[in-house]
């Protein structure tokens, strides 16, 4: 535990704050769980006594990452991930807050499960874990869940997780009901009638491999419908892991009309395309599937022009038994917590975006969407920080992941950008080289 009032000075840092646009060498002072001061001139005359000192060695100090889409698999599938292993993975990835999906077993459609997750996260005591509540009972898409009570218990937004809320009437009522309480609905936007029979992007590779395809229209069709329901109800809506050019276009048009809509995507969707499936690589089986190169470019463009608000890891741990199967029988999903920062920074290294733009996608915007006070470097803000070297090269080696699952489509990819230290509420929960212990 961070002791009350304990003060730590982070000196010799490159301060990066996407909220204010700050990008300058300087220092930052943490007292207890909060940032109390920062700036280029801070500690110009030296650090006073009684203040713990962290020399950042010129590395980047930024708000910790906020990940809006994580599956922690606990309760129910602890052989794939637990809240403890997921928190360790998040800390190593520079993630200081994450929101976990309700597709656990039992699902998060009951107050007891929200409280269970909160208690387990408290016991682990590192990264902040928030929970989505199920939008419908059992995530079955039939009856809306107890959103009001779940929100009181701590659920931060509502979704059916990896399943689309497919029935238009159910979706309309979920949105209208959420609007009553000012709650956010998050949609996995794929029309299931078109998507469930397929296992990868419909196109030449699926045709040649003899795999059933999913038309990219499956995303745009559901998004288009949802935009009409958003207009009808006025509810806040967030489209998760947008992966197609048409999908990006729908979000862009909705924003232009002033609808209360936001969206995220995940690194595979702006870094890979369906050629990654190669000879039936089940690690490249994702939901939604990896799309074409044109789609990948459009998703990247959507991030750059702010149509897509943020980047989430879409962390979906799967064990060997779920992946070492013929492609169509393998479970979809990829782990992503420990590679989120480096893969997002490829936008910087490829000269597509500035460092502050990427940090805005990783911390500021997700915080704003969820209404979290974090995501900024400012006096009074939570001392949730990531210290990283944006240029340091490394190779993604899943066997070194802290996550229990190793299913990364970026296995062996060279990348750049290393987390050096992760701080949550003023306490260090990860530091490179030494395994993290709090405080």
């Amino acid at each position: 535990m961070a002791s009350e009032g304990r003060r730590t000075a982070y000196v010799n840092a490159r301060l990066l704050d996407p909220a204010s646009g700050l990008d300058r060498a300087g220092a930052l002072l943490v007292e207890g769980k909060r940032i109390v001061d920062l700036g280029p001139g801070l500690f110009a005359d030296g650090v006073p006594g009684g203040v713990a000192l962290v020399d950042c060695g010129g590395a980047c100090l930024a708000p910790g990452l906020i990940d809006l889409r994580v599956q922690l698999r606990e309760p129910g599938e602890e052989h794939k991930e637990t809240i403890e292993s997921g928190c360790a993975a998040a800390a190593a990835g520079g993630v200081t807050s994450m929101v976990c999906l309700p597709n656990t077993s039992p699902p998060i459609d009951d107050v007891s499960v929200v409280e269970f997750i909160a208690r387990r996260a408290r016991e682990v005591g590192t990264v902040k874990v928030f929970a989505y509540g199920a939008a419908t009972q059992g995530c079955r898409g039939e009856q809306i869940a107890e959103m009001g009570i779940l929100a009181e218990a701590g659920a931060v937004a509502f979704t059916d997780g990896v399943r689309a809320i497919a029935n238009a009437q159910v979706m309309r009522r979920a949105l209208a009901y959420a609007k009553t309480f000012g709650l956010l609905i998050v949609q996995h936007a794929e029309e299931p009638a078109l998507a469930t029979s397929g296992v990868m992007n419909e196109g030449e590779i699926a045709t040649r491999l003899g795999l059933a395809g999913i038309t990219p229209a499956a995303e745009a069709i559901l998004l288009e419908r949802d935009m009409r329901l958003v207009a009808l109800t006025g509810a806040r809506y967030h489209a998760a892991h947008v992966a197609t050019a048409e999908g990006v276009a729908v979000i862009r048009a909705a924003k232009a009309r002033g609808l209360p809509v936001t969206a995220d995507t995940a690194p595979p969707y702006f870094l890979l395309n369906d050629t990654a499936v190669g000879d039936y690589r089940s690690f490249a089986r994702l939901s939604p599937p990896l799309r074409s190169e044109d789609d990948r470019k459009a998703v990247e463009a959507g991030l750059l022009d702010r149509t897509i608000d943020c980047i989430a890891s879409d962390h979906a741990p799967q064990d060997q038994d779920a992946k070492r199967l013929p492609f169509a029988q393998a479970e979809p999903g990829a782990v992503g917590l420990e590679t989120l920062l480096a893969l997002a920074l490829s936008l910087v290294h490829n000269r597509r975006a500035g460092l502050l733009d990427v940090l805005r996608l990783l911390s500021l915007r997700p915080a704003e969407i969820m209404g979290f006070p974090a995501g900024r470097l400012a006096p009074g803000a939570p001392a949730d920080l990531v210290l990283f070297d944006p240029a340091r090269p490394w190779r993604i080696e899943p066997e070194r992941f802290r996550s229990k699952s190793k299913n990364s489509p970026f296995d062996r990819h060279p990348t750049q950008g290393r987390v050096l230290r992760t701080v949550v509420d003023g306490a260090t929960v990860y530091s490179a080289g030494a395994d993290a212990t709090r405080g």
Binding site: G203, E204, R208, G210, L211, Y280, L325, F327, A328, Q329
Partner: protein, 336 residues
């Protein structure tokens, strides 16, 4: 008989190590698909198969090319025809052949595909012939075992020995494949036979058309370089070969097609539709036939047009050629 055995021995002796050229003619460890096979490699397999057609027509059909070798037919999907064909091929080459039908046994007990492969691998096989309902399953398995693997059909992906036996049948009847016009008709979407044939026939210089309703065509069919037709009248015009595909009856429940009678009316092969093809056009079918669904029953039996039974005969010879070719590349501790 002795003469042929001697020929075989001679052919065999010069191949594995002695004559690098002979080995290079088929430099593959597995046969997983037609994709990846070069034109001369396909021709090599067809030439070899031709010699086995003669052997299979004699009273003594056996040689010793695979003596001491163990072949397992691992079928995760029922198929009497293909399994029997591989079994005969193995036995006629002198191998010990074991059939395993796992559609109902081990998989139900929770054993995974990879577990099954590893178990069999520990038994020192030489060749594993695999059929599986999932596309890519045979590739997955081939990565895990030390022996040669032959794909006997994986999902909707490939069925290379079927395409080879079709090519052999055509080549023997027409003298070659170059320049022929082949119409492949029916359920292209789900057909591994169609995918392997499109690749093989085009590699060998034939022109390929596919004829099917749009619900039974894969999205990117255009990328195969084939002509796409939705009408048998244009699709079959001037065709040298009409290749019908088996239609799985479960596609008929209104999901891909409205009914059998509607399908037969527009896409079933009968004498009237065949009228636009060349007068000497051959009719082929991978079997088993759904009489009255994709092909008129009488036409299927017309010995002047249909080579369906000949395809079955060629199947054994082609599979013998595949096994022979693979074993030439396999490690041998007999010093040969």
């Amino acid at each position: 008989m002795l003469g042929l055995a001697a020929t075989r021995v001679a052919l065999y002796k010069k191949s594995p190590m002695g004559d690098p050229d002979a080995t290079l003619r088929f430099p593959h460890r597995h046969i997983l698909g037609i994709a990846g096979l070069a034109r001369d490699e396909i021709a090599f397999l067809l030439d070899l198969a031709d010699s086995y057609v003669d052997q299979n027509r004699r009273a003594d059909k056996k040689n010793a090319v695979l003596r001491g070798r163990t072949l397992i037919n691992l079928f995760f999907e029922d198929s009497t025809r293909t399994r029997t064909s591989f079994e005969l091929a193995g036995k006629r080459l002198g191998a010990d052949v074991i059939n395993m039908s796992v559609a109902t046994s081990a998989v139900k007990k929770g054993e995974t595909l990879i577990d099954t492969a590893m178990t069999l691998n520990a038994m020192h096989l030489d060749v594993l012939v695999v059929r599986h309902a999932a596309s890519g399953a045979v590739h997955l398995l081939a990565d895990k075992v030390d022996c040669a693997v032959v794909n006997a059909g994986d999902g909707s992906h490939e069925h290379p020995t079927q395409a080879l036996l079709d090519a052999l049948t055509i080549r023997r009847r027409k003298g070659g494949l170059e320049g022929l016009l082949v119409a492949i008709c029916g359920d292209i979407l789900h057909s591994r036979v169609a995918r392997s044939n499109m690749l093989l026939l085009q590699t060998m210089g034939a022109r390929v058309r596919v004829v099917a309703p749009a619900t039974l065509l894969p999205a990117a069919i255009g990328r195969y370089g084939v002509e796409v037709h939705h009408d048998m009248r244009t699709g079959l015009a001037d065709a040298d070969i009409v290749m019908m595909l088996r239609l799985q009856l479960e596609r008929m429940n209104g999901s891909f097609l409205p009914s059998i009678r509607e399908y037969f009316r527009f896409f079933g092969l009968d004498y009237a539709k065949l009228g636009v093809a060349k007068p000497d056009a051959l009719i082929m079918h991978p079997g088993p036939i759904n009489r009255g669904v994709e092909i008129d029953s009488e036409l299927a039996d017309d010995i002047n047009r249909s080579v369906i039974r000949e395809q079955v005969e060629m199947g054994v010879a082609v599979r013998m050629a595949c096994l022979d070719a693979l074993m030439r590349n396999a490690p041998s501790n007999a010093g040969g």
